[in-house]
């Protein structure tokens, strides 16, 4: 069943369904393993997580983003509404621009993170990991706004990696190299409209392409045709999971608990506690969580989110973080980074620990031929991200 054909009465059928790209991703999925992401079938890996990862760092990779939850916000109060909803000043995201943001409860705890696409004057798209419609509608009380969730009406792929710009150029997107990071533009495509944004979850040069479901297959075909000589490969969730850790991006449900899904008050995190204080704009007179965040800013946070450079080569997944014998936190995401040539991790530690240069130890359990061993490895808090190629920022984008 095509998702675009579903009506409101079909909600019971919407448990999980193939994405509109499925006819194309299915033959490419050599391992024939599928997992679930949101409302859709999703490939954890197509042929090899490592090779998919390297495709993205050396040529380009395509990731099916359809399951990303999308909302359209319009109406005369759209800007005022967005500004009350999220922590950052949306007035500064001009039409044709995209902004990363978080939104919070009144207690200043992060509900989810996502991206705001200012598509046209007063017309916004909000993308999130989790379904947010209930919260968005709750927020609409007192505003003249129209809010719809259009997850199933707009499909998307991410094209990420050094040859992504060249691929799009070859596909015929004239002037794409001049798009700035966090820019967006519209192109006509096979009788429809293709939205392209220079955004992504890999910390590399890359784009995201948004189109109506009926043109999904055509888009996929055209991309792979254009990318043939540019080393284009499909990539699955596992590879993306590695790429985003290197980029230093946090993930809801992995690095922090979405506040609306959390029962225990101390298990949520504020933007400051996730290292996202730069997204909090107190210049706005009101936004959800403002009072609580102002108080936190004055009185101090409970936790710090840190990036760790860990000695050795064993990934520190799920490790406790120690100072001496005292546990001060835990690793939320970890990997051996082929690009940084280091064992790296994202971790949440108790304040006041976590300043750049702080040294901890992490307890790593690892297995060699079913034999478990344990090592206490030194870990250092670093500033900046693990992998930060200049091409990420260059405009015009490099043409490889």
């Amino acid at each position: 069943m095509r998702t675009s054909e579903l009506t409101a009465k079909d909600h019971y059928k919407t448990n999980i369904f193939p994405s509109p790209f499925h006819s194309r991703t299915e033959p490419l999925n050599k391992l024939k393993v599928w997992t679930r992401w949101g409302d859709y079938l999703s490939a954890p890996e197509y042929f090899s997580t490592s090779l998919e990862y390297f495709a993205c760092r050396n040529t380009c990779g395509v990731f099916d983003l359809t399951a990303m939850v999308k909302h359209r916000i319009t109406g005369t109060d759209a800007l005022a509404y967005m500004n009350r909803l999220v922590t950052r000043d949306v007035a500064k995201i001009r039409p044709g621009r995209v902004g990363y943001t978080v939104w919070c409860t009144d207690e200043g705890q992060v509900i989810d993170d996502g991206t705001i696409f200012h598509m046209r004057e007063g017309e916004y798209m909000l993308c999130s990991q989790e379904h947010q419609l209930d919260w968005l509608l709750t927020n609409a009380f007192g505003f003249d706004v129209n809010i719809i969730e259009n997850t199933h009406d707009l499909v998307a792929v991410a094209l990420q990696g050094p040859t992504s710009c060249a691929t799009l150029k070859r596909m015929g997107l004239a002037g794409i190299e001049n798009m700035k990071p966090f820019g967006l533009d519209f192109f006509s495509f096979e009788g429809g409209e293709l939205m392209v944004s220079r955004t992504g979850f890999t910390g590399d040069l890359g784009y995201e392409l948004w189109i109506e479901p009926d043109l999904a297959e055509a888009l996929w075909d055209r991309l792979f045709e254009a990318g043939k000589l540019h080393g284009i490969k499909p990539i699955g969730e596992n590879a993306l999971g590695l790429l985003r850790i290197e980029a230093g991006f946090i993930q809801a449900g992995v690095d922090f608990m979405p506040a609306h899904e959390t029962v225990r008050a101390t298990h949520t995190r504020s933007p400051f506690e996730l290292g996202l204080g730069w997204l909090v704009h107190f210049s706005k007179p009101v936004f959800n969580g403002r009072k609580a965040l102002l108080r936190e800013k004055q009185c101090g946070s409970r936790y710090h989110q840190v990036k760790l450079d860990i000695e050795g080569n064993k990934p520190a997944n799920d490790s406790f973080v120690f100072i001496g014998k005292k546990v001060i936190g835990a690793v939320t995401s970890a990997m051996w980074s082929p690009s940084a040539k280091a064992s790296i991790a994202l971790a949440s530690v108790e304040a006041p620990y976590g300043k750049p240069g702080d040294e901890f130890s992490v307890e790593i359990y690892y297995q060699r031929e079913l034999k478990w061993s344990r090592v206490m490895a030194k870990a250092k808090v670093i500033e900046g991200v693990f992998f930060d190629p200049p091409r990420k920022r260059q405009t015009p984008a490099p043409d490889w």
Binding site: R84, D106, W135, T138, P285, V286, N288, G289
Partner: protein, 534 residues
């Protein structure tokens, strides 16, 4: 820069006036702005037919705080009581009514067992209501804070319950959250006693006797200081006396002034703007309006955080009671009642199942086909209300849900007829005596008294909307999330009834905060208000 010594109070209801009086007494420059042509809010006396006046909102004085009476010298400011300690008479069509006066119950068919049960019921109700009443003058303590006053407040609350004695504490904890139907069935045999007493638990509420919280409502109703009284000159004389006290302390009271919106700048209150465009600048605004009117209509939901807006939206605040006013050409003759008895509190609630059935309609957006009523004829005690020899009848009738499926404009006359038919069953000649009729449905109450939803308590009285949860957690200490904006109405602790405690408590919080901000002006005579009264 807004003048920090000025305070604007939105609404001159009894709580707004009490708050104004205390703030003015403490030396603040207070202006009360009242939309109506007279002060009093839902505690007013007004003419409803030429020569006939009535307490248009609340009609019996049950809760007015003794301390407020004393501190604001209400007697010397004009308050006088026409009749104290009214009995409750459960009306019977055949005239064989039952009279409840204090711990005594009399009437045909009342057994010795029921009389003994009444004594016990009166004892524990007064004792338990005393615990609740003892909280009225407290600023509710917050839960889960490190604040010393809050911790002490909670400790005292726990101690108050614990020190009732083991047996009574158990009983208190058992019954407070449950329904009055079970309690009355446990205690009484006589259906008329059960019916009459059950009204205490459901009057004004969206509850039947079998609904949870009806026992709490009854305890709240019993928590007044000294029974049921009728004020001379109607309830308007109560608020006029408070207004007089406020004026004497220097408060300015402006009537016919409707606030259009609360002025805000950078999340800080700047004053109010009136409908005619005039701006009254003040760093502190205290709202006597109900929470929804205050936050949604006057302030605007967009100026508040969304979680808070949701909580306020979810406050249960839909009225279910109507007011009936009859101008009568003579004293109505209720079957079996003498003149003296006719002046008491008369209730039509022949048995508790009748009351429950009357409520059933409300659940489905219909009015009761057999309503219940609380009636009094104040002109029997006070000749200022009607021409000589003529009388006014005032009744609370329910159930009449605010959200009537059929819509009130079309249904009002039919319901009015039903209520008059009902009363005529007990006072057969009354229809011929009626000179004029007025019925205020919850929709009319909303319009006349500017209470969104037309609930006379501004919000349902219930355990989950009491103390630190009234109107919602986080703003139950009279302070709102907006700097400089306070609430002082019945939507705050301790809720409805012409009590004045919400206004007095709010004034204490405003003064305590003013002192915190400006320690230089500290008055050494005044104690920390949170420590007072507890």
């Amino acid at each position: 820069m807004t003048d920090t010594s000025k305070i604007v109070i939105i609404g001159g209801g009894h709580n707004g006036l009490v708050c104004a009086a205390y703030l003015a007494k403490a030396g603040k420059q207070v202006t009360v702005v009242e939309a109506s042509s007279q002060v009093g809010g839902a505690s007013i006396t007004r003419e409803f037919a030429p020569g006939f006046s009535v307490s248009a909102g609340a009609h019996l004085l049950t809760h007015l705080d003794k301390r407020i009476r004393r501190e604001l010298s209400l007697r010397s400011n004009g308050l006088s009581i026409a009749k104290k300690h009214l009995s409750t008479i459960a009306l019977a069509r055949n005239g064989k009514h039952i009279t409840i006066k204090g711990a005594r119950v009399n009437g045909e068919g009342v057994t010795a067992e029921d009389q003994a049960a009444m004594k016990e019921y009166h004892r524990f109700m007064n004792k338990f209501a005393g615990v609740i009443g003892g909280l009225h003058n407290q600023i509710p303590p917050r839960i889960r804070t490190d604040n010393r006053d809050d911790v002490i407040g909670l400790g005292k609350l726990a101690w108050k319950v614990r020190s009732m004695g083991k047996k009574d504490m158990r009983e208190f904890l058992r019954i407070t959250g449950i329904n009055i139907y079970d309690i009355l069935k446990e205690n009484f045999e006589n259906p008329m006693i059960r019916g009459a007493l059950s009204l205490d638990g459901v009057l004004g509420a969206f509850l039947g006797p079998r609904s949870n919280n009806s026992m709490f409502c009854a305890l709240h109703r019993w928590s007044g200081p000294d029974g049921i009284s009728i004020a001379k000159g109607g309830m308007g004389s109560v608020t006029n006396a408070i207004a007089e006290a406020a004026r004497k302390h220097g408060a300015v009271i402006r009537t016919n002034c409707t606030v259009d919106r609360i002025l805000l700048e950078d999340g800080q209150v700047q004053g109010v703007e009136l409908e005619d465009g005039e701006q009254l600048l003040a760093a502190t605004v205290v709202s006597n309006a109900d929470p929804k009117t205050t936050f949604f209509d006057l302030l605007g939901a967009r100026n508040l955080e969304a979680g808070f807006v949701r909580k306020i939206s979810n406050v249960r605040a839909l009225g279910n009671a109507s007011k009936l006013h009859l101008a009568l050409s003579g004293k109505p003759d209720f079957t079996g009642l003498n003149r003296h008895q006719t002046g008491e509190r008369l209730v039509i609630a022949p048995d508790i199942e009748y009351v429950e059935r009357a409520f059933n309609h409300a659940k489905y957006g219909e009015y009761s086909t057999h309503p219940v009523a609380e009636i009094n004829i104040p002109s029997l005690h006070d000749d200022s209300l009607a021409p000589k020899g003529q009388h006014v009848l005032s009744a609370v009738v329910q159930y009449t849900p605010y959200e009537l499926k059929a819509g009130w404009p079309g249904a009002k006359q039919a319901f009015t007829d039903k209520v008059i038919d009902l009363i005529a069953e007990y006072a057969p000649g009354i229809r011929e005596q009626i000179i004029h009729t007025e019925l205020l449905t919850p929709v009319d109450i909303e319009r006349e008294f500017r209470i969104q939803g037309g609930h006379w308590h501004h919000a349902e009285l219930a355990l989950d909307q009491f103390l630190m949860m009234r109107p919602v957690p986080g703003t139950a200490q009279y302070q709102t999330p907006v700097d400089g904006l306070y609430l002082c109405g019945a939507g705050c602790h301790p809720g409805g009834g012409v009590m004045g405690s919400a206004g007095r408590n709010a004034a204490r919080v405003v003064l305590a905060n003013a002192k915190k901000e400006d320690p230089k002006k500290e008055d050494p005579k005044k104690e920390d208000p949170k420590k007072e009264d507890q």
